[in-house]
């Protein structure tokens, strides 16, 4: 689970560093990833690799549409307004999904076999290995994209100082669009790999989104490695809590973490906001 939180948190971090917006619809990208892949694989019977690519493309289009239709027209608005707009978007997407796919959790077949394998004395599902493998791959890809390509460098430039970036020919609006597309595609991938473990349902995005945010906040919204550590730490803390205290309070752990991180960092974070 920690790996998934990390990937969702990655989406938050990408959008936040580039645009300064916390995108409440990030969890909905994950949900869409799960539900769309369910439809393509189970209902249309597409082979897995094709369904994988199609899902990423479709959800990325949703991310692009979200950026073009809501964030771009409201660019002048305050941060609070932008938050409320993304909350509206999240509600909208979730409710449409609830209407379209129904409210039942849908089983999605795992990528390869549903049996478990023994590993260092513990039993793990093969799908869990997929989750970890894809997370590592995704993190590496995003890292390379941000640090080794022109697009990545432009994204970073726009994040650091959008006016200076525009002086050297980087369009901040395009970069905002790219960041949403990137966040949507990582979200979609997260949704696809987690769906076989947790089932896909229209409301899976809420908690995953929140926990992804906690992971991102624990990483300080700065870099990829911070998010990765944050996600893993949160996943570990949750399973420990579920094991030793009670699984009923599993979700509360993330919120307590959220508070701890926000309050400990409040001075830094407040300073950052004024920028």
């Amino acid at each position: 689970m920690g790996a998934i939180y990390a990937v969702v948190g990655l989406g938050f971090t990408i959008i936040y560093t580039v645009t300064g917006v916390i995108n409440f619809a990030q969890g909905e990208f994950v949900m869409l990833g799960g539900m769309v892949s369910f439809s393509l694989i189970t209902a249309l019977g597409l082979p897995l690799p094709l369904a994988f690519v199609l899902t990423v493309v479709l959800v990325t289009l949703v991310g692009v549409a979200l950026n073009l239709l809501t964030i771009r027209p409201a660019r002048q608005a305050s941060n609070i307004s932008l938050i409320i707009i993304t909350i509206g978007a999240a509600l909208f997407i979730r409710a449409i999904a609830g209407l379209g796919w129904g409210k039942n959790a849908q089983p999605v077949p795992p990528f390869t076999g549903s049996e478990t394998i023994g590993f260092l004395g513990a039993y793990v599902r093969i799908q869990s290995l997929w989750v970890i493998g894809i997370t590592v791959l995704l993190v590496l890809l995003v890292y390379l994209l941000l640090n080794r390509t022109l697009v990545g460098k432009s994204l970073k430039a726009a994040a650091i100082n959008s006016r200076a970036a525009s002086l050297v020919g980087i369009d901040a609006r395009t970069m905002s669009l790219v960041s949403f597309a990137l966040a949507a595609s990582t979200g979609a991938i997260a949704g696809m790999v987690i769906a076989p473990i947790s089932f896909a349902s229209y409301d899976m995005g809420v908690m995953l989104g929140l926990k992804g945010f906690v992971a991102a906040a624990m990483g300080g919204f700065t870099g990829i490695w911070g998010v990765l550590l944050g996600g893993m730490g949160l996943g570990l803390a949750e399973s420990l809590a579920a094991g030793y205290v009670s699984s009923a309070y599993k979700d509360a752990i993330a919120m307590v973490f959220l508070f701890a991180v926000l309050l400990i960092n409040s001075r830094n974070l407040a300073g950052e906001e004024k920028r």
Binding site: P73, F92, A95, L263, L269
Partner: protein
């Protein structure tokens, strides 16, 4: 003549009209309208508090359902389990919720903007989990039934008809109190904090204290509303206090124009009516809420009612402008 009156005293006329309409409705004998209006009145109280916090002071809260739920649960548990007089239980609920808001307010308001939104959201979810999981006190997911009715000297507020006047009595009291706060020194301090915290500080406004006070006040409103909600249903369960309700409250405040107490009441009414109309079609109401939030925030950042009010002012001043 009428138009002139409308121009000179629009607010007083609106209040009078509202009171007259509200007073008449229960006599129409339609039980459904009465019950919907009771819920609107209860929601409106919470929305007014949120409007003071978000619209006037500029501090977002995505966890207001927590205060509403806290009020409801304290009232329910005290009056049902410990047989405390319902009015006393309600008073205790308001005091405790306000104290809770003070306690969380100081650490939380060290955060701003995005982080404040997230922290309040987390607060709402933690309390919601507690309502659901502390079975021994809250009755868990299935809730507590058998909460007593409110009564004064043997007069039971057990019928919708009676409860309706009680709720709107409280609601109008809260509106009047809020209007006078907005017009006071405190109200100016709130707007100053909204405009620029540093500027407000330099003029001697203690921004932190102002923010916490407004939060506590809005929590008190929410606790009153939550208590009335429990005594109306004589039942309490975690479901009405979830994240979706916190968001719905924000929709009410946003539709009502954030910085307008009347707008908040209107927003509460509009949202409730919308969900009554749309709910039979599945979650269509939530789709519309999402759309409303986006469209209103993009097109009229000051909110729908303010936008319409601006149009109305333009219309009236054009009609009444002395022709030169």
């Amino acid at each position: 003549m009428v138009l002139a009156l409308v121009r000179r005293r629009p607010k007083q006329l609106a209040i009078a009209a509202l009171i007259v309409v509200l007073a008449i409705v229960p006599f129409l004998g339609n039980a459904y309208y009465t019950s919907v209006l009771i819920i609107i009145g209860i929601n409106a109280m919470v929305a007014v508090g949120l409007c003071l916090l978000m619209g006037y002071t500029g501090q977002v809260s995505l966890g207001h359902a927590a205060f509403y739920g806290l009020g409801a649960y304290i009232s329910a548990v005290l009056s049902r389990t410990y047989h405390v007089n319902p009015w006393l239980a309600m008073l205790a609920a308001v005091v405790a919720t306000t104290a809770f808001a003070f306690a969380v307010g100081f650490p939380i308001f060290r955060l701003r903007g995005n982080y404040l939104a997230m922290a309040t959201l987390g607060l709402g979810i933690i309390l919601w989990i507690l309502f659901r999981e502390v079975d021994s006190i809250t009755g868990g997911p299935s809730g507590l039934s058998g909460v007593p009715y409110l009564s004064i000297a043997g007069f039971n507020f057990s019928s919708d008809f009676r409860f309706y006047y009680l709720v709107w009595g409280f609601c109008i009291a809260i509106m009047v109190i809020s209007e006078s706060i907005v017009a006071s020194r405190m109200g100016r301090a709130m707007r100053a904090v909204h405009g620029s915290e540093s500027a407000a500080q330099s003029l001697g406004v203690n921004a932190a204290v102002v923010k916490v006070k407004v939060l506590a006040l809005s929590a008190a409103y929410a606790a009153v509303a939550g208590s009335l909600f429990t005594y109306y249903l004589t039942f309490v369960s975690p479901q009405p206090f979830d994240f979706l309700f916190s968001v719905q409250l924000v929709v009410m405040a946003v539709v009502g124009g954030l910085a307008s107490i009347w707008g908040a009441v209107f927003g509460a009414g509009a949202i409730r009516v919308l969900s009554e109309v749309l709910h039979p079609f599945g979650e269509l109401d939530v789709v519309v809420f999402g759309l409303l939030l986006m469209v209103v925030m993009i097109l009229t950042p000051q909110g729908l009612v303010r936008g319409i009010a601006d149009l109305w002012h333009r219309f009236v001043s054009v009609r009444l402008a002395p022709t030169r």
